[in-house]
């Protein structure tokens, strides 16, 4: 088995995805080579061939050009699997590659057992075993599902180029909305999810946070609905936190949320749904109606 690992570089940094891809190849016992549109002054620690294109020349987001650079490497290496992280870079580029080489793409893989790829469905409530029917297969790996491998070695760099022209113009980054709260410093975070029902219930969750000496956090749907500010969002596109205590109120446990809080020291989930995926990682799951339980808990804490 031969794999081609598509590493990522953004805004002057190598992203951690690369080490997860290496861990995946190691788990498979597969040979690997790595592809990166990055910089020769910031090489990943990697024990193998690194096909490197210069990010200054080809830009950090430039799908048509990155696609061609990668297709040239695939033609040369003939990997059976082309492996991406299931990230904003990976899920954008992977389908383009799969189509160009007539390959199946299997998205957001969480495990591989005897060649069968396992993926989640319906907000992780279900799983699927998926088989590719094509000679080559493109896959994207769920963030955090593999490794990361301990970075080691010095790559054998092969510089690559293309003269294909861009289809669109990438004109830089806009920083995440800045806010007053640095959740990563909080010892206790009490987060509100969609299960709180309505914006009027946010103060109830905030009161519990205050009673525990912590900060209010929120899941993505709550921020999207503007019930809480973006700087309170925990998860892949918000902040990654690891407080001493994390209390998830009405949060079902989408993988993007779990990725942002699963390293918390102690996790309490309060949910009416006993089967919610958040229960998988919670130390304690309280099956209760938030509107009754949260005020009762807050009152006892305040009067203690």
């Amino acid at each position: 088995m031969k794999t081609l690992l598509v590493a990522e570089y953004r805004d002057g940094k190598l992203l951690g995805t690369g080490n997860e891809l290496v861990a995946f190849a190691q788990q498979l016992g597969a040979e690997s080579a790595m592809f990166l549109v990055g910089s020769s002054s910031l090489l990943p620690q990697y024990d193998g061939t690194l096909y490197l294109a210069d990010v200054k020349k080809y830009a950090e987001f430039n799908p048509a050009v990155h696609k061609q650079l990668l297709l040239d490497v695939i033609a040369k290496e003939q990997p059976e699997m082309i492996v991406f992280g299931h990230t904003s870079y990976g899920w954008d580029l992977a389908p383009r590659i799969a189509l160009a080489i007539n390959a199946a793409q299997i998205s957001e893989v969480i495990d591989i057992v005897d060649g069968t790829l396992m993926v989640g469905s319906c907000n992780a409530k279900l799983r699927r075993d998926v088989k590719s029917r094509t000679e080559q297969t493109v896959i994207t790996l769920q963030a955090g599902a593999f490794g990361p491998a301990e970075p080691t070695g010095t790559p054998n760099v092969v510089t690559i180029n293309t003269d294909i022209t861009a289809q669109m113009e990438f004109s830089g980054y806009e920083a995440a909305d800045a806010g007053g709260v640095d959740l990563s410093k909080a010892e206790v975070i009490v987060s509100a999810g969609r299960g709180i029902g309505k914006p009027d219930n946010v103060p109830m969750i905030a009161a519990l946070a205050k009673a525990l000496g912590g900060e209010l956090g929120a899941s993505r749907p709550v921020v999207d609905a503007e019930w809480a500010e973006h700087h309170r969002q925990v998860g892949t596109t918000g902040q990654t936190v690891s407080p001493k205590l994390y209390v998830a109120c009405g949060i079902s446990g989408a993988i993007q949320h779990l990725a942002g809080m699963k390293k918390s020291e102690f996790i309490v989930a309060i949910n009416t749904d006993k089967d919610a995926p958040i229960g998988e990682i919670a130390d304690v799951l309280v099956v209760a109606d938030l509107k009754q339980f949260v005020p009762a808990l807050t009152e006892k804490l305040v009067n203690a």
Partner: protein
């Protein structure tokens, strides 16, 4: 301007899911169905664009059994002009490559200036179809947008990246974008618009007329994940639960010290 928005009907994700008889998909009996959440943002953005440019025609496309018509009617009530219902009782079994091929075959001679899709579906979650359609049609395709503006044939979008950073991307049209949650605030259809939607054209096309490829992957088995156990589950009366939880927090954490 000619605009297309592609939507999918999915079960409510709060449902209790069961695996179907042949063990390869979820049982569709007793589920509540709704528009894929990402697609609601796609429809809203398409309607806003139509309102902005005035002279335009907005088609909503959906693949599925007759059941999906209900979801299409919502899109029509939100402001789409016409529906293209691709009739397929086996849509759930099709892989992203087949679904994208169906859409691309439908769209290829219709000169759409802009195509909107959700960035992924809530049930399969493959995040492939939109970009595949763009590639099949040879259009610029930009995924995961959280901001969109259109001005004289040019679009400027913001792609959402990890950590909440956004990449600013510009492209000419025709183009395709896949919509992320939070892109806008999807409107609720008003009663007069729901009534009007009933009179809008809902064209039906048999999937066989548009499907000319074979699946590249197969779901061998669908199943419920094993419970990892681990966590303690507390059930009961709220005040008692609160006492139990406080005791646990005192024993296991230092936050109440």
């Amino acid at each position: 301007m000619n605009i297309l928005v592609c939507i999918k009907q999915v079960p409510d994700m709060e449902s209790k899911f069961k695996v179907n008889a042949d063990g390869t998909w979820y049982d569709t009996v007793d589920l509540a169905w709704r528009m894929n959440e990402y697609d609601e943002y796609a429809v809203e953005q398409a309607v806003q664009l139509k309102e902005q440019v005035g002279d335009s025609d907005l088609t909503v496309l959906c693949i599925g059994s007759d059941r999906v018509k209900e979801t299409m009617k919502k899109a029509l009530a939100m402001g789409c002009d016409r529906g293209a219902h691709i009739i397929d009782d086996n849509a759930a079994q099709k892989d992203p490559f087949e679904i994208a091929s169906i859409i691309a075959t439908y769209a290829k001679d219709k000169s759409f200036d802009l195509i909107f899709t959700g960035m992924q579906s809530q049930d399969r979650g493959s995040a492939q179809v939109g970009i595949l359609v763009a590639e099949m049609l040879g259009l610029p395709g930009i995924s995961t947008i959280v901001a969109f503006t259109y001005d004289s044939g040019q679009i400027t979008v913001r792609r959402e990246l990890e950590g909440g950073i956004k990449a600013i991307v510009k492209s000419g049209t025709p183009a395709l974008v896949t919509c992320q949650l939070g892109l806008n605030t999807p409107r609720y259809p008003t009663l007069p618009n729901i009534m009007k939607a009933k009179k809008k054209e809902l064209l039906s096309v048999a999937v066989a007329e548009l499907l000319n490829v074979e699946a590249r992957q197969a779901t061998e088995r669908m199943y419920l994940p094993e419970k990892k156990g681990g966590g303690l589950v507390l059930e009961g009366e709220p005040a008692e639960l609160a006492d139990q939880l406080i005791k646990i927090l005192k024993d296991k954490t230092t936050v109440l010290a």
